[in-house]
């Protein structure tokens, strides 16, 4: 039973209205949770993690461990003057950050976030769940283009174009690698993929190693992690922003609320990337002792930590090299992986 069904079941009425209300309430809860996750890890955690990588301390004057910086940062950013530069293409400029933020949030609708207090925190569980996630996540590219070209700023323009080129080049390997998992699981439904990973792969000295696809097919896992770095735009693939080359890329002209939206969408994208990786490679919410939901969050944050690590330590590739790696390397490898998987699955099954 999905989260939506649980909530609509509590309502005194039935039918489409109750489904709608149930869905809305369920989404609201998930979105609020994601927002607070972004607030904690995006504002405070990011500073602390970067500081840890660079031998610093970072915020420690605002409340315990500097946690109140979250309130200060959020309120301050929202209360800043919103500058609308001359000559921006108005509807597109306003919609860009919204499209980006919402596309990432939409993806979370089908992610099985695990159970907490007996509640299954998955808003919906459609048959084509994985296809839906990939589809919504890639809408973000449209937002990037809108933000880039409508800002009337050349740096934004360059950033937007780079973002599109990058997303095109890495979306395909990402999806193709995802498909190899589907071949194993035999289903696009995310809950089914998670359930498939519950089986025991081997038993080593009494400890059962689950058949997470990261263990079953580490090569696909690696490919997916790399493609995911490019999807979320972190080093070595942070060319759309490339602070020292094109100032702030597509978000150069955004201030105040819109900047918050850009910032938010970036982090939610990283989390969505983490959630997809956790779901299709790391057994979703599975894990010992702790509730599934907590395991899910831990896995998402682990992927987030990985992106921050990459950001601190790896140089950025050049845009032409990025495209080359994408089309000549990743694409070929991902198809090879797919064919190989198909052969193996076909032989075994």
């Amino acid at each position: 039973m999905t989260f939506t069904e649980t909530i609509s079941g509590l309502l005194p009425i039935a039918g489409p209205i109750s489904d709608f209300i149930g869905g809305a309430v369920a989404s609201l809860i998930i979105v609020s949770f994601l927002m607070s996750l972004v607030a904690v890890s995006g504002i405070w955690g990011k500073r602390k993690i970067t500081a840890a990588f660079t031998d610093r301390i970072a915020v420690n004057r605002h409340g315990p461990f500097g946690l109140l910086i979250i309130v200060a940062d959020a309120v301050r950013l929202l209360s800043k003057e919103l500058i609308v530069p001359e000559g921006v293409d108005r509807p597109a400029w306003d919609l860009g950050p919204l499209v980006m933020a919402s596309s990432a949030l939409l993806g979370f609708a089908v992610i099985p976030m695990g159970t907490l207090f007996g509640l299954n925190l998955q808003v919906a569980d459609p048959q084509a769940g994985l296809a839906y996630v990939f589809a919504t996540a890639s809408i973000a590219s449209v937002g990037l283009v809108m933000a880039g070209y409508s800002s009337n700023n050349k740096y934004s323009m360059l950033g937007g174009l780079r973002a599109v080129a990058q997303n095109l080049a890495y979306e395909i390997p990402l999806v193709v690698t995802g498909v190899s998992v589907v071949l194993f699981a035999g289903s696009l439904q995310l809950s089914e993929i998670v359930a498939q990973q519950g089986q025991t792969l081997v038993s080593l000295g009494g400890v059962a190693i689950p058949s997470w696809y990261a263990f079953v097919n580490p090569f696909a896992f690696l490919l997916f992690m790399v493609a995911n770095l490019a999807e979320v735009g972190r080093n070595p693939f942070d060319v759309p922003e490339a602070p020292t080359e094109i100032v702030a890329g597509w978000q150069t002209e955004y201030s105040s609320v819109y900047f918050v939206l850009c910032y938010l969408s970036e982090f939610i994208h990283i989390f969505l990337g983490g959630a997809i990786i956790a779901t299709i490679f790391l057994g979703g919410p599975a894990g010992p002792f702790l509730p599934g939901f907590v395991w899910m969050v831990i896995k998402i944050l682990a992927v987030y930590l990985f992106t921050q690590w990459a950001r601190s330590a790896i140089p950025r590739v050049r845009i032409d090299q990025l495209i080359e790696i994408g089309w000549k390397g990743m694409l070929v490898l991902s198809f090879a992986n797919l064919v190989l998987t198909a052969v193996i699955v076909g032989v075994i099954a």
Binding site: F53, P243, E245, A313, P315, V317
Partner: protein, 559 residues
């Protein structure tokens, strides 16, 4: 550090085993030389303003003077004068000056741009600040001051009180329609700077892009033109000039810069420096070089890796140690003002043992730290992908632009004033000049990292020497007259190896206690000129990387 390279098959015209034979040079120049002057550093020949190109070409092609080190312009009561300071990359002790006088009514002389590419910017500066015009110059505009500026500030009749107006629109508006040329053109104009995270200060690059590729790039400098030359001309030799060199190349290279002035002034006024002071100078100068190269590394990491990442912070941390040592020695973290004419300001800090110990600690830890940098930077494959074979600057191009320092050495030009024209205590110590043959961004970074090792070697030897120096012989300062008044019309051009390359000072005395003309030959100024050669046809990220690998300091470029 031999004067003659044994592999060199034959001597150039006018060259003897002893150095330059100026009489032979005079006969080589023939009727081009209409006079001869004696500068402290070299002889100079006077050349008619319309025969500059021919004379310089002769000196370059026949006599082997392939390095136009500096172009100084100045105004006398009765004439303008441009001086071309020439020397050889193979042996910088062989110098010659070419003096080109022009009349006050019609200050036009022939441009040397055809012979030495580096003369392009030098002559623009001469036009901007002094007001001499150059025939055949490809692009004679103001370079340091805004286009709208009235008057030439280093000319004799300049009125500093007059109001000036600077337009906003002078800076090309990035939002304007900009398809240069016809509407069909595919290029886009992009301002990089003067406020941009990658310009290392306030440099402005006017770039024309074809997609992501650089079709054309033009540096626009002068956003930090702080009138250093004027200020030095208003200061007395003895004390008032010394604080300013610290601020030319402000990346902790203070003592290296101070030495440039000290060397020129000491040679001009014939001041001796005690040996003990020379060792301290050598040691502290190399400390500055390490600090400066560390920052070069840090900012280069900024350009390649993005925002303030681990390498940047680590390099900052190591610089901090160096700055603490220098602070112990000089009393300041950045603007040391430590050298004095004829010595240094004070002896090493007491207790000396602590200072030596701290220095040794740093030197001991250095190899391990460098190993880590090599792990994180130079042996990273993505880094190599970005830097190898990008920003290529061939040795001949580097020479014609007068590039020096790590930029030249990264292109395989074996040129280091410390060895070739020794000063201080360098020729007594055991160290090597680092060169790399790659000519690309990677080589330049590698040269800096290896130079840090060499500097550490020098410091180590200096510490040994200082430790054992007998207490009664620790003279830090020789006798220097309270007021220095070098003889009128003494002219000197002297250079040292600064952190970025050959840092030269030209001074002319007029019998007072202040120089009549003070000209700074900045290595960054010449090095920056090579940027278009390196980045044309490459991508924006390569342009940024090349700029970072040039390691320019705008304070020194603009002065």
């Amino acid at each position: 550090m031999s004067l003659e390279d044994p592999t060199k098959p034959e001597l150039d015209a006018g060259e003897t085993t002893e150095g330059v034979d100026y009489d032979a040079l005079e006969s080589l120049l023939g009727e081009y030389a209409i006079g001869r002057e004696s500068h402290v550093n070299a002889e100079a020949f006077v050349v008619r303003p319309d025969e500059v190109q021919a004379a310089l070409e002769l000196l370059r092609a026949e006599a082997g003077f392939d390095h136009c080190s500096c172009v100084t312009a100045q105004e006398y009561e009765d004439r303008y004068e441009s001086i071309y300071h020439l020397r050889k990359y193979d042996d910088p002790t062989q110098e010659v000056g070419v003096v080109v006088p022009t009349s006050r009514d019609d200050p036009v002389s022939e441009s040397a741009n055809e012979v030495y590419r580096t003369a392009d910017w030098h002559e623009r500066e001469a036009y901007d600040l002094v007001g001499i015009e150059y025939d055949d110059h490809p692009d004679l505009r103001r370079i340091l001051l805004p286009e709208t500026w009235q008057g030439h500030p280093l000319s004799l009749d300049y009125d500093q009180e007059q109001p000036q107006v600077v337009e906003f629109s002078e800076h090309a508006n990035p939002l304007k329609e900009d398809h240069s040329g016809d509407a069909e053109s595919d290029t886009m104009f992009l301002n990089i700077g003067p406020h941009h995270p990658a310009t290392h200060g306030v440099l402005h690059l006017k770039t024309t892009l074809d997609g992501e590729q650089i079709a054309d790039v033009e540096s626009d400098i002068g956003y930090l033109h702080r009138c250093e030359e004027q200020i030095c001309q208003n200061g007395t030799y003895r004390h008032q000039i010394m604080p300013y060199p610290d601020r030319w190349d402000y990346i902790s290279a203070g003592i290296l810069n101070e030495w440039a002035y000290a060397r020129a002034a000491e040679d001009m006024a014939d001041i001796d420096v005690p040996e003990y002071a020379q060792v301290i100078r050598t040691m502290s100068a190399e400390m500055c070089r390490i600090a400066s190269h560390m920052l070069a590394l840090a900012t280069f990491a900024l350009d390649i890796y993005g925002d303030f990442t681990a390498i940047f912070m680590y390099a900052m941390k190591d610089r901090e140690i160096m700055q603490n040592l220098l602070e112990d020695l000089t009393g300041q973290r950045l603007m040391f003002n430590y050298l004095r004419l004829g010595g240094v300001a004070w002896d090493l800090p007491e207790p000396r043992e602590d200072f030596f110990e701290q220095t040794r600690d740093f030197l001991d830890e250095l190899p391990e730290k460098l190993e880590e940098y090599h792990n994180m930077i130079t042996s990273n494959e993505i880094f190599q992908l970005r830097c190898v074979n990008t920003g290529v600057l061939g040795p001949d191009v580097a020479k014609s632009y007068g590039a020096t320092g790590p930029v030249a050495r990264g292109s395989g030009v074996d040129y280091d004033i410390r060895r070739d024209d020794p000063y201080g205590y360098y020729d007594e110590l055991d160290w090597d000049v680092v060169t790399e043959q790659g000519c690309d961004n990677y080589s330049r970074v590698l040269v800096r990292m290896r130079e840090v090792e060499e500097s550490a070697k020098i410091i180590d030897q200096c510490v040994d020497l200082l430790e054992e120096w007998p207490e009664e012989e620790r003279t830090i300062q020789s006798n220097v007259p309270r007021t220095l008044k070098p003889e009128a019309d003494t002219e000197i051009y002297r250079s040292v190896e600064g952190a970025k390359g050959e840092l030269g000072i030209y001074m002319r005395a007029d019998g007072t206690d202040k120089p009549a003309r003070f000209k700074i030959r900045s290595p960054c100024f010449s090095n920056l000129q090579t940027l278009p050669e390196m980045s044309q046809g490459e991508y924006i990220p390569d342009l940024i990387a090349s700029l970072g690998s040039l390691d320019i300091v705008l304070g020194e470029v603009d002065r």
